[in-house]
Subunit: 437 residues, 2 copies
Amino acid sequence: MSASERSIQTPGPLSGASDAGAPRVLVLGAGFGGLWATRALAGAPVEVTLLDRHNYHTFYPLLYQIGAAEIDATEICYPVRKILRDQPNARFRMAEVEDVDLDARRVEAGGAAYGYDHLVVATGSDPHFFGVEGAERHAFPLREVEHGEALRNHVLRRFEEAEAADGAPRAGLLDFTVVGGGPTGVEYAGALAELVAGPIRKDYPVVREHPVRIRLLEAQHRLLSSLPQELGDYARQRLEAMGVEVRFEAMVERVEPDAVHLAGGEAIATETVVWTAGVRGAAAAERWGLPVGRGGRVEVEPTLQVPGRPEVQVVGDMAGFRQDGEPLPMIAPVAIQQGEHAAENVVRLARGEEACPFAYSDPGMLATIGRNHAVARTRWFTLTGFPAWVVWVLVHIAKLIGFRNRLVVMLTWAWDYFTYERFSRLILPGDDEDGGG
Amino acid sequence: MSASERSIQTPGPLSGASDAGAPRVLVLGAGFGGLWATRALAGAPVEVTLLDRHNYHTFYPLLYQIGAAEIDATEICYPVRKILRDQPNARFRMAEVEDVDLDARRVEAGGAAYGYDHLVVATGSDPHFFGVEGAERHAFPLREVEHGEALRNHVLRRFEEAEAADGAPRAGLLDFTVVGGGPTGVEYAGALAELVAGPIRKDYPVVREHPVRIRLLEAQHRLLSSLPQELGDYARQRLEAMGVEVRFEAMVERVEPDAVHLAGGEAIATETVVWTAGVRGAAAAERWGLPVGRGGRVEVEPTLQVPGRPEVQVVGDMAGFRQDGEPLPMIAPVAIQQGEHAAENVVRLARGEEACPFAYSDPGMLATIGRNHAVARTRWFTLTGFPAWVVWVLVHIAKLIGFRNRLVVMLTWAWDYFTYERFSRLILPGDDEDGGG
């Protein structure tokens, strides 16, 4: 009889050992939050079980590059088992969480039940369509590897269809619309502009006679609103220099397979709508009985604990943690720091101590705009252009888990850089029509 | 108005120019036969249109390695447009052939019509299940990239499920059955045995206590029947040394999701059945009115022309060409030589000359068995073991199109070789259940 089976009948005490020995820590999600929590527990006197519906960790910050046919999924995905191979107190189960019973301290996943003494919820975020009609159905979000692959296939198919149209591509076929002027929207629009200006122009003669239009629609008055104003201005200049049409105060009201409709009545013919306008905490939290607040994120104590459930902590995009009155952004550094903090709290609780409050130490923010420009905000100064891009490349390569992935990504980038060529232009199997939602 | 549109109204003369000028050559399929035919027409006074439902060429000889999680699809797929970029008389259309009208000399594909003066049919082969009940539904063929990916996902999921079963994996979960003792069956069984002995053993503790069984079922009395007897014997010894159970005279009568049933009544519990027992010419040929003979292959003249249709040639797996009374094997060297020959015939016919008969020049055959053993038959001698493996590696790397693919595959192999590690162990999106048929 395994520890998890036993636990179902007799849930362990709050912060002590299960009757088998070490306290059982259950971590939901192998993204940045869950994985870093698990790794931070290496050597601690606990038994960790990490659950994820995929058997790999995804390096989300580069997801948009899959959608722009710059890199392949395998370059930013890394097997969880490999990461945990040398951590004897951790085990991985590939399973989708079906239900969480907070009272019974039990999680149902993949047909099995997992009891816990401590739970770390790190199930991330979903695209947020704000109820815009047709968006979930027809627009492509960029939150999962599947989304990136579906978008890449869809984009490349547009050009194949334009070629097959023998000189008369239909309206909207070569019009691409990115909704949302945050980092993902800016990065994707820039990458797409470069894809079109480089390999697409070489291999698809149709685009020499028929203009490709890339529009970036932002509801507010500026790009990159989480960064200083001058960085948003710089991003806009760069994108426009690359041929991207940046439009402010453009509120999307409806998405159709071949058009977006804006507030005010304007319709834009486009067969490709990329939705980067918003994310929200993963939808399941409410069903599990967690206290969900604004943006679908779980309201947590300053310690990351759920009110009234000291054995449950929430980290990353799912956590509605506020610092200086503002919710923290849904980005990797926040998830990593919270994951590590939750691990420390588990150790404290297991020792009978109190959990400590979390504080985010902001390392800055980065966004790339095309091949060799970026914007960066550090704690002390801001950077734009090529120097910022070099920082961006170094930071991202350094953060990619696994030497071999780093090597392949570096080689791919170096190759791209010198040959101005991309290689992931394969329309590989997988559903790629009718959006990724 | 394009040449192809014009042609629909007035099909060009048999072997002369269309009224637009150069004769229009239509090539169906961007596999070895079609691609080599197209490339061989570079510089010839013809206009070539190449159609394929994918936008990439697949290096089929390494497909089994995708199924064994050794390499990724992108390492053996190469964009067709890139290959043809410097060939001004060729254009590519990504389109699935819907109909061929031999009388009107017209092909319908992807909603468009393509007229031709010369047609080269190179649409390859499909798995052949010989009417075995359940095989098409539940067994995994290995003819397309999709098949390789579906098989890889399925195999890796077996081990994830075994881990999640907490010490009691169900019968058949860790039993793998390869049907067919030809090169693909031998290569896949060997690769799977190494996957299990290496990374799976490291990352899935369950296999240390629960044996993994790999069975290779062959209906005849030996492996690799297209190679000399001693090579088949060697392959069997090697596979058995790697733990593969090789069974002869094992006729599969029925495949179920969790078992195969053999003639004679024996049932083997297995959730994974890989079908390498046969291929046949692509099924559409008959529908198009081509004279289909044994193995679903088109009966051709010694020149590769279709009887009574001198403007139509068939090459590769689709061609039922006989040499010394025997049909040629469905392998890449045959397709390549026939593709090039068909191109030469097109040029001859366009000049008003007669087509020449084809003769296959046999360069030998190779099959690999695991990490560093292979068998090779050249024109003069046979080789086994490590020397044959070195030949195999060199030949395959040399044949991969594109420097970057070669580089990545070489690096991957070198890395695998020295670290005894595999990296494509991601269960990526895509349908992976209920077989690949």
